[in-house]
């Protein structure tokens, strides 16, 4: 019987006193404390956020006292942050609140998170096979430039997707050759990929477009308008008219989960990342698997880049367009503990924080700027193991030598 099933067997009263239950309740209530004051609930008094936040903190202390220390402390922190945000929200004008928090925020969250999802899933494949990919940023940047170049010269966004993905694959192949065959240090190699991509895209952007925006008439990746939902009250602006690549990213997450955890291919990839020698012994071609995974990561990161320039950016490119998104994708992958849905959740969280940062400008420009550090701080906390330690694949970053 699993631990969870055992827990269900217990009487309700015992389950309610279980520190895990109180801990998670505390986390949820802490978040709820902040949400009380914003639309659609929009409580206009500071009492409610404070009361709910305190309840969350008390539940947290209870939990911490009963052995689940990290969970408890997490609930206490969430409660306190919830109180703070709740008070801030009740102090601000209703008009501002309605501007900042509406259904379009959800659409914007998806728009910001999609490049991260593609990058993070790409990075997950590479690292699951045992190759660290710091070069996600560069591969994404290559996709962003060559994707929009393909769409411009080829006349269609479909061409753009293929060209972007192809160039991403080529760059990943070069990196894979150095990382796998030459056994170069993977972090040094990935750093090199980032520099190279920055130089190559900048060079050819100027050579081919004289550094001007590629605009007007470039075929862009279309939005998908869902007939019924698009006209609905809240869902319409939220998910009724999203870009094709956003839907593709949802499919990608599910597909990559199935591939990594439910198929023989996924088992091979994970075996190469956990114990390459054992994988080699049972007849898995470690080099081939790693090459495949790294090239796939290049293709996916580049597709995220194509979306950035030819979808989200409306067919425009500028120098160093990704501006660190590849690194946030890397962070999302780590924060999501090298798992597809974890990475997806982290990418959504980071996308949400970017979208919110943009909207918080109605309150304070400087506070909204500072809000952008959230993904990095959260990832730092995650790798530090304050709330749940992240565990990379055992052979991640180690070159493998055939015997």
């Amino acid at each position: 019987m699993t631990e969870w099933a055992q827990r269900l067997e217990n009487p309700l009263s015992a389950r309610l006193r279980d520190p895990a239950t109180t801990g998670y309740a505390g986390l949820v209530l802490g978040a709820f404390a902040a949400f009380l004051a914003i639309p659609p609930i929009q409580a206009r008094t500071i009492t409610w956020p404070i009361v709910v936040g305190i309840v969350a903190a008390v539940l947290g202390i209870w939990t911490a006292a009963r052995g689940r220390r990290r969970l408890g402390i997490g609930a206490v922190v969430t409660g306190i942050i919830g109180i703070g945000l709740g008070i801030l929200a009740t102090r601000s004008g209703v008009g501002n609140l309605n501007d900042a928090f509406n259904a379009a925020l959800i659409a914007q969250m998806f728009a910001f998170s999609t490049p991260l999802v593609f990058g993070a899933i790409g990075g997950m494949f590479s690292e699951r096979s045992g190759v660290v990919n710091i070069g996600l940023e560069g591969m994404m940047l290559m996709g962003a430039f060559w994707g929009v170049y393909g769409a411009d010269k080829g006349g269609s966004w479909v061409v753009g997707l293929f060209v972007g993905a192809g160039i991403g694959a080529v760059l990943a192949l070069v990196y894979a050759y150095f990382a796998i065959h030459l056994r170069a240090d993977q972090i040094v190699g990935g750093t090199a990929v980032n520099f190279l991509a920055l130089g190559i895209t900048g060079y050819f952007f100027f050579q081919l477009y004289h550094g001007n925006y590629i605009s007007q008439g470039v075929s862009t990746i279309p939005n998908v308008r869902i007939p019924f939902i698009a006209d609905m009250h809240f869902l319409g602006p939220a998910i009724g008219d999203l870009n094709l690549m956003i839907w593709a990213s949802f499919v990608l997450v599910i597909l990559s989960y199935v591939v990594v955890f439910k198929t023989p291919i996924g088992l091979r990839i994970r075996a190469c990342g956990e114990h390459p020698r054992a994988a080699d012994t049972v007849g898995i071609n470690v080099y081939a698997v790693r090459y495949g995974a790294v090239v796939l990561s290049g293709i996916l990161a580049a597709l995220g880049g194509v979306y950035l320039s030819d979808g989200f950016g409306g067919g425009a490119f500028n120098d160093n367009m990704t501006a660190g998104r590849g690194f946030i994708a890397l962070a999302a992958m780590i924060f999501g503990n090298w798992r597809p849905f974890g990475a997806f959740g982290a990418a959504l969280l980071f996308g949400f924080s970017s979208a919110l940062a943009l909207r918080l400008q109605v309150y304070s420009a400087s506070a909204s700027t500072l809000f952008n550090v959230l993904p990095y701080v959260l990832t730092l906390i995650a790798v530090a193991g304050v709330i749940g330690r992240t565990v990379p694949p055992a052979a991640d970053g180690k070159p493998y030598r055939k015997q």
Binding site: L196, G199, A365, L370, V383
Partner: protein, 407 residues
């Protein structure tokens, strides 16, 4: 990305493949000496030249223009008069070299302890911010204590910023690459906030521009070559040269350096020998950050004097430091020479290029391409080992042939 070793290494090559980064780098240092970095750089320039050629420009003329633009033609007609273009260009190249030496040392020192400090850029920014704040806020102080205060505090701030990554590495084993990348971006956004609308360091006189205040004249470093108004070479250049010596002395002549290198070669063996590994990881990272923070302070007080939101994404000296250190094999002399090469590329590509040969925008990006290629090739130790081993195999044969011929 854990670095624990599963199998005892059998050969030096095996040790290089499975051991720590520092062990691999150390092996490379024995292999090939100075020839390999020179070849690496030449190969990168060659491939960069092909890119230039493929896009319809003359690579030889382009490299000649960059060489002259960097003022390296000064050696043919040495003069200290900055009215001379070559002399002025050289002073500007050395200005960039100053920063790159320190950013290179920031990477090199951590490398010698087996860590990859990718966060030089963030530590540099933190030093820059602190130097700007103290350089402006304590206006009217006596210049010597003012400069010492601003430089010292900025260096310390850089050390603390990197120390966060070192602390996390030492206590909970968080990989320093991930934490320094995150700290880079946190530092970048802190800068956006500091200099942005309503930020604490934003210009007090003009609240509409996202630029900092100017450093007070009492905190500005003296210029010894050229004029202050024309961004002359400041005394920080000698500080950077001194830092190279300090780097060498710490690593080669002190107990601290011995411990740092021992941890870098093999943490397990170092721990067995009674060295406190955790303490050394933190110390090495903090010293690395101190170099980068010092670079930020010297730039701010030496010639920038102010910094803006728009300057933040353009700055890449911290990342160039990676290429400098790797090309320089993480040694003092190598870092100095690597910094000169990249300093020349950095200034020579921004300026004085005739657009019928190559536009400055193209040349600037060529620097990134060459930088990327150099880092890519330096990282591939097997490539270098292969060259080295071939040479070693050939040498005894040649000696045997020579003996036969003598007999």
């Amino acid at each position: 990305m854990t670095m624990d070793v599963n199998y005892p290494p059998e050969t030096p090559e095996e040790a290089a493949a499975t051991g720590t980064l520092a062990a691999r780098i150390a092996l490379k240092q024995r292999a090939g000496g100075v020839v390999v970095p020179v070849m690496t750089a030449l190969l990168a320039f060659l491939i960069g030249g092909f890119v230039v050629l493929a896009t319809g420009h003359n690579p030889l003329l382009a490299y000649r223009d960059i060489f002259n633009g960097a003022g390296l033609n000064w050696v043919f007609h040495p003069t200290t008069n900055v009215a001379n273009t070559a002399a002025y260009n050289l002073s500007q190249t050395l200005l960039q070299t100053t920063t790159l030496i320190l950013c290179g040392l920031a990477v090199a020192f951590a490398f010698r302890c087996g860590m990859f400090n990718i966060g030089g850029q963030g530590q540099y920014f933190i030093g820059l911010y602190v130097a700007n704040w103290l350089g402006y806020d304590f206006a009217g102080m006596n210049p010597v204590p003012h400069i010492l205060l601003a430089v010292g505090a900025a260096t310390l701030a850089g050390a603390l910023w990197a120390g966060i990554a070192g602390f996390l590495k030492a206590t909970v084993g968080a990989h320093e690459v991930i934490s320094t990348i995150m700290l880079n971006w946190i530092a970048i956004w802190i800068g956006e906030w500091l200099f942005g609308d309503g930020g604490p360091l934003q210009n007090a006189a003009n609240k509409t521009v996202p630029i900092s205040n100017d450093v007070a004249s009492s905190a500005q470093l003296p210029v010894f070559w050229g004029q202050k108004e024309l961004q002359g070479l400041h005394v920080g250049f000698f500080v950077a040269l001194a830092a190279l010596v300090v780097f060498w002395v710490i690593l080669s002549r002190t107990t601290l350096g011995y411990e740092v290198r021992a941890v870098g070669f093999n943490p397990d063996a170092a721990a067995y020998g009674g060295i406190n590994v955790k303490k050394n990881l933190f110390r090495a990272m903090a010293i690395s950050g101190a170099f980068a923070g010092l670079a930020g302070a010297l730039d701010m007080l030496g010639y920038l004097y102010h910094f803006g939101q728009s300057d933040i994404p353009v700055s890449s000296v911290g990342f160039l430091g990676i290429a400098v250190a790797l090309l320089g094999r993480n040694t003092a002399v190598g870092t100095g020479l690597g910094a000169l090469l990249f300093g020349a590329l950095l200034f020579g590509t921004t300026h004085g290029l005739s657009s019928n040969v190559i536009q400055p925008e193209l040349a600037g990006n060529l620097t990134y391409i060459i930088q990327g290629l150099i880092v890519l090739f330096v990282g591939a130790d097997v490539l270098i080992l292969y060259v080295w081993n071939t040479r070693r195999r050939l040498r005894p044969r040649a000696r045997a042939r020579a003996k036969e011929a003598a007999a």
